[in-house]
């Protein structure tokens, strides 16, 4: 800058241009060569923000000073003359009487003379200089006796409103002058060379709400301005994480939803996806069951895929983590839908700073072949320099089942059994005297349910100084399940470090380690408890669990209490997720970043059923142990360039490469027939029969390169272009490379003059994006022909065989999702109301489908890219600040509508039973049909009960094809599990030290296929039923032996699963500082006590345990099924959180 100024001055001097001008521009404090007594025209160098001194440059050729004006003054007071100059020139001129003699008479007559010349003429002897600021204002500043510039200083301290400690690295700016300073570690700052006069000083720092204060600067004096900043960024100031970087929300061109740490901490969730429930529009979260450690089905803007995974990509601090349990566990547990502990439950939600959800193609395309289902970016907490804080919190909760089903008691049951037998022309089983003695019998639901405690402890230490910040945390969680024999506990530890090694080099790491352990409920327990005859007791004569013969079925009784407590079904999991990174600034604005990530998951699953309990009863004990270890590493290098061109344009370029590899090794063994159950699963070596040993070792790898360009034009027109090339080992040889581009445009309409003049919008941004993402989440070897192993016994010995197991498909490639999104972000009423609305239309083609191949080939199916699915929808999110002041009230509402439709299934227009569910007669209500959404149900339509001559009623179904018979072709679509719309409403009230927050959440229009109900209303006389069977009801047949097998898939069991749920209500009280001091807890800076309730009310018509279920959460083909699913709980929590 200095060099340029000197050159300019030399040129000017040489040119000797007409009007009286300042000569060389040099550092004012060092003295200036005066060419004449006239005023100098000076400007502060743009961007200079160093306390040490201000660079002044010559501004005499600024456009505003060259403007020609015409003046005619005779004896006009100087003040008037100056204001006329200002008006005619379109220049804002500030001056004070202390600086210029405003009454001095001026005589000047000139036409088309430059402003600069006029000012020079009228101010010739005034002894002032003219300072031009970057916003186009000019100030008249008195020159000191030595010709030095008279300037003042602004000093002060920036502190945090809560901790009262100084905030380092806050930027304090004197508006309009381009002068600024950064606060030191203790928060103090000093800005020198401020032109005297009134100014506005502004303090800002990321993570805090900026604040402005007025000050009048006096020459040669310090003017003190202190700031107390509140740590809460406004919606616009918010910096959100986007793929491979961060962006200010005001400049986002894509659709991104955010969930903050406060929202996550509002309810004691055990796993982070539960905190997304009802918080972000377009994100549907359905917890699969109430089991501790159960996963949740998360769908962003509807499910795209049929055979491939539908879960979004989870990225924690830039590390994409493994969430696919099919590879990472050996599947040794004895469960129906749940393959293992939820892999996301290994993360402590208290460690999370914010969660961003990338919903549209522009935001997600940078993740290429993994971004089709959306991306969930999780940023964990970092320390803040200058603040060393310790936080500690703990909570205790009581959980219970929301409701129990109305089942028959022993007397009603016995009567029903007798009726069933009589109706089948068989003698009744129970004599009347027996029935009289039965009473209520055993309440099996009562026997397995319990009120269970949930305990959590969390401690964290964070802080740092100018160069180093750290965040260390530890937590413990113990969650007993509301069904006996199920629980989960987790301990976790985190260490996040950021260090600035030098001005150009920054390094850091994120590390978390956790160990979880869970007892998973063996699969048939809930169903067995529901169907168990209340005439049988839990324990037999000797106090042992009754597992004798059930006279009704002729087989051993599967005692649910015995199964729950005696069967070992446990998983122990160790998880380490970490990354280490380095950032180097090659040049101003050019940064190189290198990251090495590691995700290590080790899971051990034990199952043992002793010989006293089914299914171990039939094999004299059976057990298996499986251990799997998944190591996935990622090596990423990015180069990032940002540049601002004046105030008009900004450019942000990013390019990078990624290498990722996932290796799993597993071993599992199963044995049965043991001499003793005493060793349990540790005694597998002593089994008389070895069932098998399996040693899977899947692996996959991915190599990619990506680039993103963000270009901002006049900060109003924002363009984004991204592209990524992925090469995956999973795809066929002929289609290894995938290109995923996207483009987006955003228009900051509120920065346009005409919108500003309307005055309605504080912020208005319109954006549109279109792009392509892919889905590579299929098995590892699906494109290859593989052989499978077989066993056959010849002459008393096992013979192993190898046979063709799968057909090769070298054409296999990723699924492609093309998404179009258009959205509006608006803030009105002084930012008190902000609205975000999006419309999207996404089409997924080349759908990976297990296409049926003719079975005469010897194969059942082949994975092919055929078919397409469309999701179209609308999202709305409204945040309002209703009241500020003594009583504060904020509301947040989000709504989402999504229409899913299958467009093409290849050669078929319908695929029946793509996924077998349930058991017994209910195995094929799933269907895929062109023109219908995924997750549709298929079956017969119930017509009425038909009574035969003996008065026995059976359900009859409609003959839809009119052929006079009710056959398989009379089936039709009877509903589907996708909701019409979902939403959440959150209200937060603050009054003094109290805080009340309420979260409501709803899902409307989704249907549930209640297989459990079909088993409980079959009236087959061998299992306990709902009381409805005794009283009769729609579709309920007359009890008769054999009915159970006649039950079929029909709309009798399709129920409306819509619900409105009070998800969380929380009342918290923060103890005032004075009180803390009074009880000698001075060290404690805050202490908050709270009481909260989760699932505190539910409004639904669903007759099962809970409408929020999905037994088969891992597949996209079978959502909305209730098959003895572990019920959700409601709980009440007491806790506190404290900080030092």
């Amino acid at each position: 800058m200095r060099v340029a100024a000197i050159v300019l001055a030399a040129a000017l001097a040489a040119a000797g241009v007409g009007t009286a001008r300042a000569a060389a521009a040099q550092n004012a404090p060092r003295g200036v060569e005066l060419a004449a007594a006239g005023p100098r025209f000076l400007a502060a160098a743009a961007g200079a923000a160093v306390d040490a001194g201000v660079q002044w440059s010559d501004a005499s050729d600024a456009a505003v000073f060259r403007r020609p004006i015409t003046v005619d003054w005779r004896g006009v007071p100087l003040g008037e003359a100056l204001s006329e100059i200002a008006r005619k020139a379109g220049l804002r001129l500030t001056y004070s009487a202390a600086v210029v003699p405003l009454q001095a008479p001026v005589t000047l007559s000139a036409s088309h003379l430059t402003v600069g010349a006029v000012l020079s003429a009228v101010l010739y002897d005034a002894g002032v200089d003219i300072l031009l600021t970057s916003s186009g204002r000019a100030a008249l500043v008195k020159r000191g006796a030595l010709g030095e510039l008279q300037v003042g200083r602004v000093v002060g301290r920036v502190t945090d409103s809560v901790s009262r400690q100084g905030i380092a690295v806050a930027t304090v700016t004197v508006e309009g002058t381009g002068l600024s300073a950064r606060s030191a570690d203790d928060g103090t700052y000093r800005i020198a060379n401020v032109p005297p006069g009134p100014h506005t000083v502004r303090a800002a720092r990321i993570g805090y709400m900026p604040m402005s204060k007025p000050v009048t600067v006096v020459a040669d004096q310090d003017s003190t301005v202190d700031f107390t900043l509140t740590a809460q960024a406004t919606e616009l100031e918010q910096v959100v994480a986007i793929g491979y970087g961060t962006a200010a929300r005001r400049e986002l061109t894509g659709a991104v939803s955010s969930v903050s740490a406060d929202q996550i901490a509002a309810a004691p969730v055990t796993s982070l996806e539960q905190s997304l429930l009802g918080r972000a529009s377009g994100v549907q979260v359905v917890t699969s069951s109430g089991q501790p450690g159960a996963g949740a089905m998360v769908r962003i803007r509807g499910g795209n895929s049929i055979s491939a995974g539908n879960d979004p990509l989870y990225v924690i601090d830039g590390v994409p983590i493994t969430t696919n349990l099919n590879d990472a566990t050996t599947g040794t547990l004895f469960t129906e839908g749940m393959r293992g502990l939820n892999p996301l439950a290994a993360l402590n939600p208290e460690d999370i700073e914010s969660i961003e959800i990338l919903k549209d193609a522009s935001a997600g395309a940078i993740y290429g072949a993994r971004g089709a289902n959306g991306v969930v970016l999780i940023t964990t907490k970092r320390g803040r320099s200058g603040q060393n804080t310790v936080s500690f919190g703990s909570y205790y909760a009581r959980q219970e089942v929301r409701r129990e089903l109305p089942l028959m008691d022993a007397t009603q049951f016995a009567q029903m059994v007798n009726a069933a037998n009589t109706n089948a022309s068989q003698p009744p089983l129970y004599a009347d005297t027996d029935i009289a003695r039965l009473g209520r019998g055993t309440d099996w639901q009562h026997a397995i349910f319990r009120t269970a405690p949930l305990r959590g402890y969390d401690v964290s230490v964070s802080g740092g100084d100018q160069n180093t910040t750290y965040f260390v945390s530890g937590s413990l969680l113990q969650n007993d399940g509301v069904i006996i024999g199920s629980d989960m506990s987790r301990g976790s530890f985190r260490f996040n470090l950021d260090r600035t090694v030098s001005r150009k080099l920054r390094i850091g790491n994120r590390l978390t380690f956790s160990r979880s352990q869970g007892q998973v409920l063996p699969s048939p327990v809930v169903l067995n408890a529901l169907t168990a005859p209340p005439t049988l007791s839990v324990t037999g004569a000797g106090g042992e669990y009754f597992t004798g013969i059930n006279l009704l079925t002729g087989r051993s009784f599967e005692n649910p209490v015995a199964s729950a407590l005696r069967i070992t079904n446990q998983e122990r999991q160790n998880r380490l997720i970490g990354d280490v990174f380095g950032e180097y600034d090659l040049l101003e604005g050019l940064t190189l970043r290198s990251t090495l990530d590691l995700d290590f998951l080790n899971s051990v699953q034990d199952y043992y059923a002793p010989s006293t309990v089914l299914p171990g009863l039939t094999t004299n004990g059976q057990g298996s142990r499986g251990q799997a270890q998944t190591v996935s590493w990622t090596f990423e290098n990015t180069i990032h360039y940002t540049r601002r061109f004046g105030t008009l344009h900004s450019l942000d370029l990013l390019a990078g490469t990624t290498l990722e590899r996932i290796n799993t090794e597993g071993i599992s063994g199963t044995a049965q027939d043991f001499l003793t159950d005493g060793l349990g699963v540790n005694g597998l070596y002593a089994g008389k029969t070895f069932v098998g040993v399996w040693t899977p070792a899947p692996h996959s790898s991915l190599a990619s390169s990506f680039a993103r360009a963000n270009w901002g034009l006049a900060a109003k027109y924002l363009f984004t272009l991204t592209g990524r090339v992925d090469v995956s080992s999973r795809f066929g040889r002929d289609h290894r490379y995938g290109l995923f581009p996207s483009g987006a445009f955003a228009w900051r309409a509120s920065d346009e003059g005409f919108v500003r003049r309307l005055g309605w919008f504080d912020d208005l941004k319109l954006r549109a994006s279109y792009g392509r993402t892919g889905n590579q989440d299929i098995g590892n070897y699906k494109s290859l022909a593989t052989l499978g192993s077989t066993v056959y016994v010849f002459g008393g010995s096992r013979a192993i065989g190898f046979v063709p197991a799968s057909l090769a498909n070298s054409d296999l490639k990723w699924e492609t999702t093309d998404q179009f999104d258009v959205g509006v972000d608006a803030s009105v009423l002084r930012n008190r109301v902000s609205v975000t609305a999006d419309y999207y239309n996404k089409k997924t083609h080349d759908l990976l489908l297990d296409a049926r191949v003719p079975s005469s080939s010897g194969f059942g199916s082949q994975l092919q890219n055929i078919g397409s699915v469309r999701n179209r929808g609308f999202e709305l999110s409204i945040n309002t600040v209703n009241l500020t002041g003594a009583v504060g009230w904020e509301t947040s509402l989000n709504l989402a509508w999504n229409r899913n439709r299958v467009l093409n299934l290849g050669a078929d227009s319908i695929i029946i039973d793509p996924y077998g569910v349930g058991g017994g007669a209910h195995q094929s209500p799933t269907v895929l049909k062109v023109g219908e959404p995924i997750n549709s149900f298929y079956g017969w339509v119930y017509d009425s009960l038909a009574y035969d001559t003996l008065g026995i009623g059976r359900p009859v179904y409609r003959d839809l094809d009119g052929d006079g018979k009710v056959t398989a072709s009379d089936r039709t679509i009877i509903g589907n599990a996708q909701p019409t719309y979902t939403g959440g409403l959150s209200n937060r009230f603050t009054f003094r030290n109290f805080e009340l927050s309420i979260l409501l959440q709803w899902s409307v229009g989704n249907k549930i296929y209640n297989i459990t109900r079909s088993l409980l209303t079959a009236a087959g006389g061998t299992a306990n039923q709902l009381v409805d069977v005794a009283t009769g009801g729609r579709g309920i047949p007359t009890p008769k032996i054999g009915n159970t097998f006649e039950s079929r898939e029909s709309d009798l069991f399709v129920e409306d699963g819509s619900y409105l749920r009070g998800k969380n209500i929380r009342v918290a009280y923060s103890l005032p500082a004075t009180w803390l001091q009074a009880v000698h807890l001075q060290g404690m800076s805050r202490l908050q006590l709270y009481v909260s309730a989760q699932n505190f009310f539910t409004v639904t018509n669903y007759t099962g345990y809970d409408p929020e279920i999905s037994e088969y959460a891992s597949t996209n083909l079978a959502q909305g099924f209730d098959y003895g699913t572990y019920p959700q709980v409601r709980q009440i929590t007491f806790g506190f959180s404290a900080g030092f």
């Binding site: 590899r661 090469v727 056959y792 063709p804 191949v853 032996i1041």
Partner: protein, 289 residues
């Protein structure tokens, strides 16, 4: 400047290193699953391939076949406790969507594809010619067995004589009955000469020449070729290899399975050595008394 140079050098090296290892890095070959390209090389591979065909025959007779061959006949009358599918079979009012139908079809064609894999690939393996002849004979026999079950249930069925490696160009139209029988007969004639009359030790249970002849006789009989049927059956009787047991009940004694003189060919279900494959017919088909 020096630092920049150093960095750019490192960057270049990394890129080179990556480029070099790229191919092996992205190699999709599984380390825990076999691929046909690396298999079918030795005699034990050939043996394993044939063992696999037997395994599929095991499943063919597991349950679905019983529904068709017993339940749908007068041998069984469905009681009140039998499931609705059993009732439909027993009353002969089932349709094509009944699960045993698809079960028979699928199992048979899986057997055929596995046998075809053996017949296509084993001849190229360098191995003991006698063993190869026997293994191919076993494959012929099992393929003929599968086709025989198919034609008896369905009549004209697609005729596939080679392993299916791609769905493109798959023949799915029904071949006339006579042609299928022609293959069955030629397969069994081939097997009758290739297979040994008996096995010992851990090979007991494999197909024998007598089994091939017996099946051939049955095929002729079903085709109503009385002369050939009588001739073939006669040959088996006169071979002296098979003798009726003194007590017919001994046919059902586990201790005598596979090893009694009446047994021509048996599918072996062994719940101990092959857990999960113990026959469930012990639940359904025990003799009374």
């Amino acid at each position: 400047m020096q630092r920049t140079k150093l960095l750019s050098m490192l960057g270049g090296l990394t890129v080179l290193a990556l480029a070099a290892s790229c191919d092996s890095f992205l190699d999709p070959s599984p380390s825990d699953v076999l691929a046909p390209e690396t298999f079918y090389k030795t005699s034990s591979d050939a043996l394993a391939a044939v063992n696999g065909v037997y395994e599929q025959v095991k499943w063919s007779y597991w349950l679905g076949f019983w529904y068709v061959s017993d339940v749908a006949t007068d041998d069984i009358l469905a009681s009140a406790k039998f499931g609705s599918d059993g009732h439909r079979m027993s009353d002969y009012i089932f349709d094509a969507t009944e699960w045993p139908i698809g079960d028979i079809w699928g199992n048979a064609y899986r057997t055929i594809n596995r046998a075809n894999a053996v017949l296509d690939r084993v001849p190229a393996i360098t191995m003991d010619p006698a063993l190869r002849t026997r293994l191919l004979g076993e494959a012929h026999f099992l393929r003929a067995l599968a086709y025989f079950n198919l034609v008896r249930c369905f009549g004209d069925v697609p005729l596939l004589e080679h392993e299916v490696t791609s769905v493109k160009g798959l023949a799915v139209s029904r071949t006339p009955l006579a042609q299928v029988y022609a293959l069955i007969v030629s397969d069994l004639q081939e097997a009758a000469t290739a297979l040994p009359p008996a096995y010992s030790g851990s090979d007991v249970g494999r197909a024998t020449s007598g089994a091939a002849q017996a099946l051939l006789a049955k095929a002729y009989l079903t085709e109503q070729d009385w002369l050939k049927a009588a001739q073939t059956a006669g040959a088996i009787i006169t071979s002296g290899h098979y003798v009726l047991l003194a007590n017919w009940k001994d046919n059902f004694r586990i201790a005598l399975k596979l090893a009694n003189s009446e047994s021509i060919f048996e599918i072996n279900y062994d719940g101990i050595l092959d857990p999960g494959a113990g026959s469930i017919h012990t639940l359904f088909s025990l003799p009374m008394g």
